[in-house]
């Protein structure tokens, strides 16, 4: 068992190092590109060191303040519970989009080796203890226990350490269970696509839940003041302590949450309530055991399952054969149609198209329910064409997986394009047109969503918003071609995780450029309506801007397409997944 664990740890380490090194057959630029791809996560890790240090200091000071009586224990416990709840939720979310999915492919190889399935499972669970989020919690909890000891409560500190270990065990088992379950779900392409769609939409909607809850608490308070214990005029009603309000708000079932059990064990230790401590610790260990057992079963199911890419859908035969797009020849049109089809048949593509419109509409609706929103949000929410513009920008951002990696996303299909009698300019124009059609499809849904939520306003302003988005994409397209040719990344667009992302640098530059290219149309729209008070003027101004963008984009795309020729060999290798 130890030998197998050692070998698997070594395997993880070597895989990481070798992925940094790349193959011998790569040129300098590709090696730099790979190094940059790792540099951005490294920068993020470096930045997160600050949070770890901060959490350590807060944990230590919190523990010490609690032990020395500087901090009210109920308030301290509330902060601890909220922090742990949020971190545990982060672990759950990260487990969904995280590494277990991408490492599934190696199971088949590992299963051929003399390693028992139990050892494999144990290794995976143990590996999840090294998850950065779990490490952050571990550091914080350790600092908290140290603070308690430094404050003169060594017994409570010891109990806090035991409870922390139990909590980490629960979180590791939970993270593993979710990871295995997700990996099993995505073993079937169709099952995986449905899951991803529901997950992303669910997460987006959940994002506004805290605001809605805040409103609920406020409303409850208001109702109580209006109909309940009204105070005589001039008598100031003492505010309920925030910790009490939090306790009242937390539903009863949350007592079983690992973070709550941990807090209960500390509370019990502080109060000298052994029964509470024992119950809470027992609860944590029981949860760990249950989760470990379930995760073992799911893991067994995962490694016994067969990967399936089957699709029940049967596509149309040759729907677009011979059809030409305006201003494009047959070859570029064929590239564009292939791009549209392949994009719309991937999870990332469907999400990019389906998500922005409904999400904008749902968010505006939900914020409307909350009541008081920021002024800028109210302004956007009340004018549909601004919503349309915001949705369009969001669509451009969410479709970066295609626009900023337009060649490598075709994988072997790109080899076919390289082998076809296509000039580089035709290839680039076809790709730009194809990505443009995909974004346009998302815009149609944004338009429907915006019209449903805020249909008012002059049609000319709506048209201006559409023209502005077209101009934004046109200006973005040369950079998209250039970045896609220079920094291609072999991407799996059937997943929403980082495996489908473009190169980190392309994403970063792309994000900045989307905002920069959208700024002039936004200024035209806002300027005409609010500064000049002549909304109708927005349309001619925007038309001129769009023509200008088209006039610039056309030669620049041709210029950028030269990068395809210069990087053809590297693009071919990336398309082959090398």
């Amino acid at each position: 068992m130890i030998r197998a664990l050692r070998a698997l740890s070594w395997l993880r380490w070597r895989l990481l190092l070798n992925s940094l090194r790349g193959g011998q057959r790569r040129d300098r630029l590709e090696q730099i590109s790979r190094a940059l791809a790792f540099a951005i996560p490294a920068i993020l890790i470096a930045l997160s060191i600050g949070s770890v240090v901060g959490l350590t200091v807060i944990g230590f000071l919190g523990g010490r303040a609690l032990a020395t009586g500087l901090l009210d224990s109920t308030l301290a416990m509330m902060i601890l519970r909220i922090a742990l709840l949020l971190l545990a939720a982060t672990i759950v979310v990260m487990a969904v989009v995280s590494p277990v999915q991408s490492s599934v492919s190696r199971y088949s190889r590992l299963l051929l080796l003399p390693i028992s399935r139990r050892t494999l499972h144990l290794t995976e669970v143990a590996a999840s203890l090294a998850d950065p989020w779990i490490l952050i919690i571990a550091v914080g909890l350790l600092a908290f226990a140290t603070g308690l000891a430094a404050g003169g409560w060594p017994g409570t500190a010891g109990m806090a350490l035991v409870a922390a270990a139990a909590l980490l065990l629960v979180l590791a088992c939970l993270g593993s269970l979710i990871g295995f379950a997700i990996a099993w779900l995505v073993r079937s392409r169709r099952r995986g696509e449905w899951f991803t769609l529901i997950f992303v939409i669910g997460i987006s909607v959940l994002a506004v839940v805290p605001a809605m809850i805040g409103k609920r608490i406020e409303d409850q308070g208001r109702i109580r003041v209006q109909f309940g214990d009204e105070q005589p005029a001039g008598v100031r009603r003492p505010r309920t302590p925030i910790a009490e309000r939090f306790d009242r708000w937390m539903p009863g079932w949350t007592i079983g949450l690992p973070s709550e059990l941990y807090a209960a064990s500390i509370r019990g230790a502080v109060a000298g309530d052994r029964a509470l401590v024992g119950g809470a610790l027992g609860g944590l260990l029981l949860e760990a055991l249950v989760l470990f057992t379930i995760s073992s079963a799911v893991h067994a199911r995962l490694i016994g399952s067969v990967e399936s890419n089957r699709s029940r859908r049967r596509s149309a035969l040759t729907g677009t054969a011979g059809r030409l797009l305006p201003m494009l020849g047959p070859a570029a049109s064929a590239v564009a149609f292939a791009q549209v089809r392949t994009a719309l048949r991937t999870v990332r593509g469907r999400l990019g198209v389906l998500l922005p419109g409904p999400m904008i509409a749902v968010l505006v609706f939900l914020f409307g329910q909350i009541g008081e929103s920021p002024a800028w949000l109210e302004a956007i929410g009340s004018r549909g064409y601004y919503l349309l513009a915001a949705g369009g920008i969001f669509a451009m951002y969410s479709l970066q997986a295609f626009t900023m990696n337009m060649f490598a996303t075709d994988r072997a299909g790109f080899t076919l394009q390289l082998l076809s009698p296509l000039s580089e300019a035709e290839l680039a124009r076809g790709k730009v047109a194809g990505c443009g059609i995909v974004i346009a499809a998302a815009l149609v849904l944004c338009l429907i969503g915006a019209l449903a939520v805020a249909p008012g306003g002059s049609p000319l302003l709506w048209l201006s918003a559409l023209l502005g988005l077209a101009a934004t994409y046109l200006l973005l397209s040369p950079a998209a071609v250039w970045l896609s040719a220079l920094f291609p990344v072999s991407a799996d667009l059937s997943k929403t995780g980082s495996g489908g992302n473009p190169h980190g640098l392309s994403m970063l530059v792309g994000t900045v450029l989307v905002v920069a290219c959208a700024a002039p149309p936004a200024l035209i729209l806002i300027g005409a309506e609010h500064w000049l008070h002549r909304g109708a003027l927005a349309f001619p101004l925007m038309a001129v801007w769009t023509l200008f963008a088209a006039a610039i984009a056309h030669p620049l795309v041709s210029l950028a397409s030269r990068a395809i020729g210069q990087r053809r060999e590297n693009l071919a290798l990336v398309a082959q997944g090398k």
Binding site: N309, T318, A412, Q417, S420, S423
Partner: protein, 291 residues
């Protein structure tokens, strides 16, 4: 090992400048020598280097038009790299090349209009259906919609893919993908076909169909440049072979001549092993195995 001179090699290599195939008309100096027109594919000192690794080391290929040329070599010898250089997927580090009389480095699009390729990774869009893949290839080659439909239908029938024409390629088996890749290569009616291991992973029935198809293609004047590990297939189909070993071309010419000159009466396997010197390499005994 130096390249072995074969009697049937193109005249400029064998030094037979007075051969009737040496020039087209024997006229002015800038006329293209006739033997050059007869060669569907010709390389001079073709070289591909990755860092310190020399994958293809200055090879001189001469593939006569209308021939079925088998390009053999052990694993890692440089076969696929050569095909990638010839089809534009890799940029040669040195040397020159002419395909159907055109320099592919100077005018790659013109060459691609005339050749079909089934590469190592098959080069198919996962998320297009079989029929859509063929429609894409037809449109890129500038064929009209009616021709694309007719040719696609015939090719899909021939490849026994009609029932799966509207399924996505991602749902195809390896053999079906291979047949689709071949159909895509044949659809624009190329004059030269590059096939990288076309029979690997193919069942006996499909293999027979493909062999018949390729034989008919050559009979009608087409040229095939094929790499394969299956020497029996090469022996049965090819009339010319080239053998590459460690990036160098160690033999080239008509199969019959090679057999006669290099290893009289031997099978292609024996000839191949002799050319790459496999017998001479002393294999370790692995005495620990089976204890």
């Amino acid at each position: 090992m130096s390249e072995r001179a074969i009697a049937s090699e193109p005249p400029e290599r064998s030094g037979a400048s007075g051969s009737p195939r040496a020039t087209a008309q024997g006229g002015s100096g800038d006329e293209v020598p006739r033997h050059r027109l007869d060669l569907a594919l010709e390389t001079k000192g073709l070289r591909k280097q990755f860092g310190d690794l020399v994958a293809v080391d200055g090879i001189d290929l001469a593939v006569p038009g209308g021939s079925f040329y088998g390009f053999l070599g052990p694993n890692g010898a440089g076969k696929s790299t050569t095909i990638k250089c010839l089809t534009g997927l890799l940029q040669p580090s040195g040397g020159s090349c002419r395909i159907l009389g055109i320099d592919p480095l100077a005018d790659p699009v013109a060459v691609k209009r005339k050749v079909g390729v089934v590469p190592e990774d098959l080069a198919l869009f996962d998320r297009l259906s079989g029929a859509e893949t063929l429609a894409f290839v037809g449109q890129v080659h500038g064929l009209d919609a009616a021709s694309v439909r007719q040719r696609s239908s015939e090719l899909l029938t021939l490849m026994d893919l009609n029932g799966a024409a509207s399924d996505l390629v991602t749902d195809y088996s390896h053999g079906m993908r291979k047949k689709l890749a071949l159909a895509a290569a044949l659809l624009p009616a190329p004059r030269l076909l590059f096939l990288d291991e076309p029979f690997e992973g193919i069942d006996a029935v499909a293999s027979r169909q493909i062999k018949n198809l390729l034989t008919a293609f050559v009979r009608n004047g087409g040229t095939i440049f094929l790499t394969s590990h299956i020497l029996e297939i090469v022996e049965r189909l090819c009339d010319h072979i080239g053998v590459i070993h460690k990036g160098r071309l160690v033999a080239q010419g008509r199969l019959a001549d090679l057999r006669r000159n290099v290893a009289a009466g031997h099978t292609l396997e024996e000839l191949f092993l002799d050319l790459i010197g496999a017998e001479r390499a002393a294999a370790p005994a692995l005495e620990w195995l089976g204890r």
